[in-house]
Symmetry: C2
Subunit: 146 residues, 2 copies
């Protein structure tokens, strides 16, 4: 189990890969983002994207899943109060392979709650061409070592 | 069809409701956020939340769906470059009824691309007790009237 104390500013880790399928792009979009460019190759062809692209919320959720699997899962994570600077920089298309790079930006003990601290994480999602497709700057609360 | 020109700073609209079910909380978490407090009542009981709560990414995706259904769906939306100030302020629990309030903050024509403009939207997601559970400040690109 990793606690708040186990994260140091400058720590970098890599997570993934995840290969994005056409089926999962359409399934996510059908439930959460039914805009034409997320729903079918035909409708997407005439859009500004020129073909099917994943919902930005899908990319963010996939990034989070990769993080839970190999980063947050075995920690004292207590959830997140929020994030800033979420940017969708390049389209994510069927067959793209995504990796997430996480850098610890800061680690701040809570002033009011001595059992926890906030870690600021800068995340970059890259595709198989090493293009950055998404970035975010997230806060996550972690329990301190008991 | 609503175009960039049809949005004015100060415009406010309300969207929803959506009733969040235990089943959809668990289904989303199983796919994208398999942390104990999102996966089962039993595991969540011993967490800091004291019971099952929706993944923040689920709440954000549900908010987006409400927006597509009654706001973005019949517009010239060209997708979003990103957002800031995403905040998860209160837990979302099974049975909660969510509404989204959207306010147009600004409307800025693109300097480089005369066919589009960026609209900044402040969103508030509230539950049935009128508590704000999530906020965000999003940018969305809209095509200009042809």
């Amino acid at each position: 189990m990793r606690y708040f104390e186990d994260f140091q500013p400058g720590d970098v880790s890599e997570h993934g890969p995840h290969v994005v399928s056409r089926e999962e792009i359409i399934a996510f979009a059908t439930q959460f983002d039914p805009q034409p460019f997320h729903l079918s190759d035909e409708a997407a062809r005439d859009s500004i994207f020129g073909g099917l692209v994943a919902s930005g919320w899908h990319t963010a959720s996939l990034c989070h899943r990769l993080l839970v699997d190999s980063f947050l899962g075995q920690t004292s994570s207590m959830g997140s109060p929020g994030l800033d600077e979420l940017r969708w920089l390049k389209p994510v298309r069927p067959g793209d392979t995504l990796h997430v790079r996480v850098e610890v930006v800061s680690a701040t003990p809570s002033r009011s709650k001595p059992d926890r601290g906030a870690i600021k994480l800068r995340m970059e999602v890259r595709n198989q061409k090493d293009e950055v497709v998404m970035t975010e700057l997230a806060n996550v609360l972690f329990g301190r070592r008991p």
